[in-house]
Assembly symmetry: C2
Homo-oligomer: 108 residues x 2
């Protein structure tokens, strides 16, 4: 497994809906992923067993967790406990760095 990962070394995967994803690194315990979203793109509300810690690396998003929505911008953070409903609406072109525990096998 790579442990020192330059951003330019990994290609984006187009998910449609003006969303792209890069899987940066993972093992069975954790996975770190970049998600690029264009203004207006929607990360539909969903939940999963994985705990998620996310960093807003670029842009502006309205993030909803468990029914509460807040506008977050580059530098802000959100945290999603296991099985808690969450979603994202991109307000200005941006990027999220999502970290999951355990591994999101569904992304592989």
């Amino acid at each position: 497994m790579e442990t020192l990962i330059q951003d330019a070394s990994i290609e984006w995967s187009d998910l449609g809906g003006n969303i792209r994803r890069k899987i940066m690194a993972f093992n069975e315990e954790m996975m770190i992923v970049k998600v690029e979203m264009k203004s207006g793109a929607i990360g539909a509300s969903h939940h999963h067993i994985h705990t998620q810690a996310s960093y807003v690396s670029k842009g502006v998003f309205d993030i909803t967790i468990d029914g509460t929505t807040q506008r977050l911008q580059a530098g802000d953070v959100y945290f999603v406990p296991s099985m808690v409903e969450h979603g994202a609406l991109c307000i200005e072109d941006g990027e999220l760095v999502d970290v999951f525990h355990p591994l999101r096998k569904d992304f592989l």
Copy 2:
């Protein structure tokens, strides 16, 4: 626990050695932390049971994991499996976003 966290809402803690830390969010499963380092600051080599996924949010660092060093810059990532030795040397004033599994109780 806060789940939607604006960066400005949390104060830095000075750790000395030109390093500051902000604990952004956590539960028993994960913790997300910002670390600010000035050029020349050293995160001494160490290891811990926690798996760690880190995002370079600002600046330039020489990151060493298990004896291999690579220069990483804003946008790059590194990943540290449990008990693997790692350290950081800040080359240009910067910031890391460190995510751990499980909770780093030693930070509280």
